[in-house]
């Protein structure tokens, strides 16, 4: 718990009378919508990043838009912070509650409002699960392209908040490329709409700011997404390499050859071994790195692209290349990659997933740096990458019950992120900053840039009530973090003073 108070210490404080907030919410919306009992609040203490927890004053679960507006207006009048939440699968603590705030869960707004197969658009409420959109569109031969690995559970509202990606981003884009319009409310409960169902929208591109804003600019109650025609065929190719550097170079060579694979994933030997022990995908465990390359399109296109990829990979040192013979085998190739996180969970009581993105050319250098850090921090790290777009997901294995291990894991992760910035990349490719990477924002952005972010937030939310204290660090926090980074070189990590 001390971790949480530490993470909040430099934020604006809100003078909130918890008993009054609960009473007023209950009076306005009733116990079916407002949860206040401690045992009912426990499931909302954290999102997918469970090391950061806090108990909110209350959880509001609106069943319709009117109840959203009622809650927002009431909380705005009382100046109470609001933390919007979807399915709670986020990996950066973006939906972590605050002790002086209320969680607004949009999970019950889960209706698919309309699907227009001719216009290739779906209008859905924010609590609709990502995969449910594709399932509803399937009868028309259409689907929703962004496919974060949590897609069976995560909601489109959460995807909008985080600008979620997935394994097909290089070819089909992120959430921001596939959301046409959103409708919702300001913190004051005023209706707003951003974007358009037309090919573009007038005025400043406010939609671009709202997508990926981590629930800090507006509360979204309806999302219009673009649907794409389902490719006729997809085939996957699996290639083994004797070094991670060679695999990294092969990735660059595929792109340089003018090929945009539908998916291009990489796993290092540690990740492959973990996965094989878990689900027996048939991966060669003697390789230092594996690539999965997918081609999709018409029968003719896929045949041509698979052949071109195979020859590029062989020319760049692949020791073995397999092409999926049928759909079952293609799914088996992917099953291993998709099981990487739970496989890490079997090897170790806890794991910590990082999310830096780097230029593709730096993949080999980064992997070598991570290998060195494993020694230094005394912790193992498995590496799975969205190699096509340079997005890394190193999985640091640790045991939270052993004193100092979480602190070492956190410092290890921070160093990976800071190295990502130094290599010309970013601290987060698709998981968001949330509360987790707020310190590293000090490294990626200057004080003036962070000031501009605060100003952008204030343009949407002048009272600063929507998810305050996330994503953008204050000057004070960055000064503290700067001091701590200086110490880190000189002191044993286990004894790090936490602020």
């Amino acid at each position: 718990m001390d971790k949480i108070s530490a993470r909040h210490h430099d934020e604006p404080t809100f003078a909130v009378d918890g008993a009054e907030v609960r009473a007023r919410l209950l009076a306005a919306l009733g116990p079916e919508v407002v949860r206040t009992a401690p045992e009912e609040l426990i499931p909302y203490e954290c999102d997918g990043l469970s090391v950061f927890r806090a108990q909110p004053l209350a959880v509001v679960l609106p069943r319709n838009e009117d109840e959203v507006v009622t809650a927002l207006r009431l909380l705005h009048a009382l100046r109470v912070p609001v933390v919007p939440r979807g399915a709670g699968t986020g990996l950066s603590g973006g939906a972590m509650p605050r002790p002086d705030g209320v969680v607004l869960s949009l999970a019950r707004l889960n209706r698919i409002v309309a699907i227009d197969p001719l216009a290739r658009q779906a209008r859905v409420q924010p609590g609709v699960r990502n995969l449910a959109i594709s399932e509803a569109a399937a009868p028309y031969g259409l689907y929703y392209a962004p496919d974060p690995s949590s897609q069976i559970a995560c909601t489109i509202g959460g995807n909008v908040a985080e600008n979620s990606g997935g394994v097909h981003c290089l070819k089909y884009g992120l959430t921001v490329h596939n959301v046409l319009a959103v409708r919702g409310y300001t913190a004051a409960g005023e209706p707003v709409a951003f974007g358009s169902e037309a090919p573009d929208a007038p005025g400043l591109d406010t939609l671009a700011l709202v997508v990926g804003s981590e629930g800090m600019l507006a509360v979204i109650t309806e999302v219009t997404v673009r649907l794409l025609p389902k490719p006729a065929v997809a085939k996957c190719l699996l290639a083994a390499f004797s070094s991670v550097r060679a695999a990294g170079e092969a990735v660059a060579a595929v792109i340089a050859a003018g090929i945009i694979p539908a998916g291009l994933e990489m796993m290092d030997q540690g990740a492959v071994e973990a996965v094989e022990a878990f689900i027996h995908a048939g991966y060669p465990t003697d390789a230092a790195a594996l690539l999965l390359c997918e081609a999709d399109g018409t029968e003719e296109e896929v045949a041509e692209e698979i052949e071109r990829m195979r020859s590029v990979l062989l020319a760049h040192g692949a020791s073995e290349v397999r092409v999926s013979r049928d759909e079952a085998e293609r799914l088996r190739f992917w099953a291993g990659r998709k099981a990487a996180f739970p496989a890490a969970g079997r090897l170790s009581p806890d794991y910590y997933c990082m999310d830096g993105t780097i230029p593709r050319r730096a993949i080999g250098e980064m992997l070598e740096a991570i290998a060195e850090m494993q020694q230094r921090y005394g912790l193992r790290c498995l590496n799975v990458f969205h190699a096509g777009d340079g997005n890394l997901h190193p999985l640091i294995l640790f045991d939270a019950n052993r004193p100092g291990e979480w602190e070492r894991a956190e410092a290890f992760g921070a160093e990976i992120l800071e190295r990502s910035v130094a290599l010309g990349g970013t601290i987060t490719g698709e998981h968001g900053v949330g509360i987790e990477k707020i310190n590293q924002m000090c490294v990626q952005f200057t004080a003036e840039e962070r000031e501009a972010f605060f100003q952008v937030k204030a343009a949407f939310d002048p009272d600063g009530l929507l998810n305050p204290g996330k994503a953008i660090p204050t000057l004070h926090r960055c000064a503290e973090y700067g001091r701590m980074r200086v110490h880190r070189g000189a002191l044993p990590f286990a004894d790090l003073p936490r602020f």
Partner: protein
């Protein structure tokens, strides 16, 4: 490099002091657009000497260039690596720059199959109206650190600051392409296009005018060949097709020639919005979502677009001043105004096609 930025910071500081407006000018290729004509006593900040590609590595699919770099220089460098700017930006006159392409947010007809400049932006460096040099986004494909201010700059028409450098995602140029022509009325063309767009076909661009529909297919040799057989139509020669798409993209000749007193509107509508008669004459791009309408000065394009579920942009002719674009709700207009306060509190930068605010 530092000198140029310092000099521009001084220009901005002086303009703030003197309460002068600042016109940002690249190659001047969009100077003819009515909202770009301004204004007596304004300081002109010309970016055309601030040029050069800073980084381009074909295997990264990213180009980073100074804002004054001519589009021609960038497209030539990309072509040498077998790549292109997939949004194929309009060039209304020679000399267009990459900064202008980003600031205007305009994309050519290939937006149908390959996305827009908004889709391609990865990062910007910006000199804002407070004199701050700010960097947002970066040079990697996926980046969710901080609000997506880089994308906000696309289509902001320089109202939020001077773009210094831009980083864009580029793409391999499709190896095969063919343009086919079909005989259709507007409604039939729209219906057919939206159906095709729901199938996995390499549709790249579409244009309907005067009972003829042109469709460009771009992709792998095998994919284009198969799609051509699927679609049918009459194959247009490569040279003629290149002229046609340049005409559509750059708004030169053909239907773009207006008679005295005519007003040209751009209506952006849901792609399947009813294909009703609009103005004296109209034509469309994409699957029917971008309709160009020529009308007399009394015709209200804003009302017509609203009735069809979209929005309108008065592109040429008609009243001298704003409004050029459909209005937003009061709440959204207030947010836009406060965003301008963030980056340009003194409203130094000439206002693009936006209402005062």
């Amino acid at each position: 490099m530092a000198e140029t930025i310092a000099a521009w910071q001084e220009v901005i500081a002086a303009a703030r002091q003197a309460r002068q407006q600042v016109v940002i000018r690249g190659g001047g290729s969009k100077a003819g657009l009515p909202w770009q004509s301004c204004c007596e006593g304004a300081v002109v900040l010309v970016t055309d000497q601030w040029r050069g590609i800073e980084r381009f590595e074909p295997s990264e699919l990213v180009v980073t260039a100074r804002s004054g770099t001519p589009l021609a220089e960038i497209t030539a460098a990309l072509a040498e690596a077998g790549q292109w700017l997939p949004f194929d930006p309009p060039q209304f006159a020679p000399g267009g720059t990459i900064g202008g392409a980003v600031a205007s947010g305009l994309s050519g007809p290939t937006r149908l199959g390959h996305g827009t400049v908004r889709d391609a932006i990865l990062g910007v460096r910006l000199l804002d109206g407070r004199g701050r040099v700010l960097r947002f986004g970066g040079e990697v494909m996926k980046n969710v650190a901080g609000y997506d201010v880089a994308r906000l700059m696309v289509g902001a028409w320089g109202t939020l600051g001077v773009l210094l450098t831009v980083s864009l995602k580029v793409a391999p140029r499709p190896v095969a392409e063919v343009t086919c022509a079909f005989s259709f009325d507007a409604e039939g063309a729209q219906r057919q296009l939206n159906r095709w767009a729901g199938e996995p076909l390499p549709l790249s661009a579409a244009f309907w005018h005067d009972q003829t529909l042109w469709v460009a297919l771009r992709g792998s040799a095998a994919g284009v060949q198969a799609a051509k057989a699927r679609l049918g139509g009459e194959v247009v020669g490569a040279a003629e097709a290149a002229r046609l798409w340049a005409m559509v993209r750059d708004q030169q000749g053909g239907p773009w020639i207006l008679a005295e007193g005519e007003v040209l509107w751009r209506l952006a509508l849901p792609p399947a919005a009813p294909m009703v008669p609009l103005g004296h004459r109209f034509w469309f791009e994409g699957t029917g979502g971008i309709r160009w309408v020529v009308a007399n000065p009394e015709w209200d394009g804003f009302a017509a677009a609203t009735a069809l579920g979209g929005w309108a942009w008065r592109w040429r002719g008609g009243a001298v001043g704003p409004p050029w674009q459909s209005a937003r709700s009061a709440a959204v207009a207030a947010i836009e105004s406060r965003l301008r306060d963030v980056f340009d509190p003194d409203r130094l930068f000439v206002g693009g096609p936006f209402a005062k605010g």
